[in-house]
């Protein structure tokens, strides 16, 4: 009897993923700013999906207020560059700053559970939106543009932004993989399934939640900061908007809540739908809703969940399998 985590398939896949990252790093040499701008948007979606999944899918923290950290990340870039910090250094600092802000927020929202927690996080996001809207030094309700990156030629800038986004996405995906694979990952799932029972087996509930909340805040802050560098302009209503949460839920439910791979798949689907139908006005939103309803009805555990059920594959193994039992299970 042995405990299995990696399989040949998952080892191969992880190697392939490293290869894909290398290839992605070369994209700016082959394609123009249009492509890298689009791919940067995709990286943002992947980060957001992975972070919301770590929160809701693994730790059971259904937040509908992660746009608070997206907005804090974006505006932190503006504030840092106003103080003379290089634009790309500011992007990284903004992500970390967003994480820092999440710690006092966690003291407030962790007093709430379930639906109250969800609404509480939304309230926090709205408070930040209002604070920023009323602060004229960062543009108030009309927003601001990011001038610090104008020191680069536009083509170079787009490539640099792309590389920073790729690096941050890779780092965040690795961090969440390591976190969810560690013993803390198991503790988080235990909290998700039954918080009191988790306490009864020794899980330090508040600390475990705080760590994943911090990771998600850094990730969402990075997503906001990258978006800032990619679009060069921001308004509080859009960057602190609830639509970010709608996208996160869409991607994670579509791909497979509580699977490591699913949200990436969900991000690819959302990105594809956006590229295809974004010009079609409100029909685009109708389409998104229809796709979400159809997928959740046909595949309640998401696209990736359905694949796992059917083929029993795991590409990025965060779980555990008892070895001699594998054959027995597939027989039954």
């Amino acid at each position: 009897m042995s405990v299995q985590r990696w399989t040949r398939v998952s080892l191969l896949f992880s190697g392939a993923t490293a290869g894909i990252v290398v290839i992605l790093a070369l994209v700016p040499f082959w394609f123009g700013p249009n492509t890298t701008e689009k791919l940067t948007e995709l990286f943002v979606l992947i980060i957001l999906a992975a972070m919301w999944n770590a929160l809701a899918g693994y730790a059971g923290l259904v937040s509908i207020g992660q746009q608070a950290f997206i907005g804090i990340g974006a505006y932190a870039v503006i504030v840092f560059t106003d103080h003379g910090i290089n634009g790309y250094v500011a992007v990284v600092l903004a992500a970390l700053f967003s994480g820092l802000i999440s710690l006092p927020i966690s003291l407030l929202v962790f007093r709430l559970r379930g639906g109250q927690f969800a609404i509480g996080t939304w309230v926090v996001a709205e408070i930040f939106r209002l604070l920023v809207t009323n602060d004229q030094s960062i543009g108030g309700g009309t927003g601001r543009s990011l001038d610090a990156l104008n020191i680069y030629a536009p083509a170079d800038r787009q490539a640099y932004t792309y590389w920073v986004a790729l690096a941050l996405m890779t780092a965040l995906m690795l961090a969440s993989f390591v976190l969810l694979r560690s013993r803390l990952g198991g503790a988080l799932q235990a909290i998700r399934d039954d918080e009191r029972a988790a306490e009864s087996v020794g899980v330090p509930v508040a600390r475990a939640k705080r760590i994943v909340f911090l990771l998600a805040a850094v990730g969402c802050g990075a997503a906001g900061a990258i978006t800032m560098a990619n679009t060069l302009t921001v308004t509080p209503d859009s960057i602190f908007g609830i639509q970010w949460t709608a996208y996160m839920i869409f991607m994670v439910l579509l791909g497979g809540l509580g699977t490591f791979e699913g949200p990436v798949l969900g991000a690819l689907v959302l990105f594809g739908v956006q590229q295809e139908f974004q010009g079609s006005g409100s029909w685009y939103l109708v389409g998104l809703g229809a796709v979400a309803i159809a997928v959740t009805l046909v595949f309640p555990r998401g696209l990736w969940g359905a694949l796992v059920d059917r083929f029993n594959i795991r590409l990025m193994p965060v779980g555990h399998t008892l070895r001699t039992l594998v054959s027995r299970r597939s027989e039954s």
Partner: protein, 243 residues
Amino acid sequence: MPSDSQALTARGLSKRFGALRVLDDITLDVVGTSAVGIVGPNGAGKTTLLDLLAGATPADSGSVSLSGRDVSGLGAAARCRLGIGRTHQVPRPFGGMTVFENILVAATMGGRLRGSSANDNSLRALDATGMLELGNRRADTLGLLDRKRLELARALATGPSVLLLDEIAAGLTEPETDELVEHIKQLHAAGLTIIWIEHVVHALLRVAERLICLASGTIIADGGPQAVMNDPAVVDAYLGSAV
């Protein structure tokens, strides 16, 4: 009796829920490696007592010590890490995880083990409760007996010195109960201190060396199992509650 043989001690534990006094000044000494059964009519405060000992509910007053160390200020998770394991009356599996992962969480968090020692300890807990074959099953697909066995395995994996069992035989058939009793007997023989609340008295009597009867939040009898069962106050409490 030397104090270092006291596995678990409660002094003056009281708990109210609103106007209802559930436990009133409970004092209890449990000697290391003993098996204590707790009986009492419904509403006597048995589960509340277990919750206070485990730290799942804060006591209004009184103290709890584990091997002479005061743990009154600690929550359930910290007490578990110090050696108080418990099962729940209504099983509370981590439904989205496999049986093995359920137990592994207990071993890594409550037992503070890592790597292969966590794996080995979890496999031992699976084996001790006869669940090895179910290791890869999602816990929410288990039936009642397996859920109860999972409660036991999970508590064991935390490496407890004191094990609190809350009506682990309730709802099981005779053969299922017999099987669980065998597991518990072996654990007791291996040196674990056991405090077991149970309505299924004949199961309890096969393990318990000492019996305590709770009624209306106070201890009305405490001693050898037969003596307690024959105590007029105990008979009264049960008949009076129309069980």
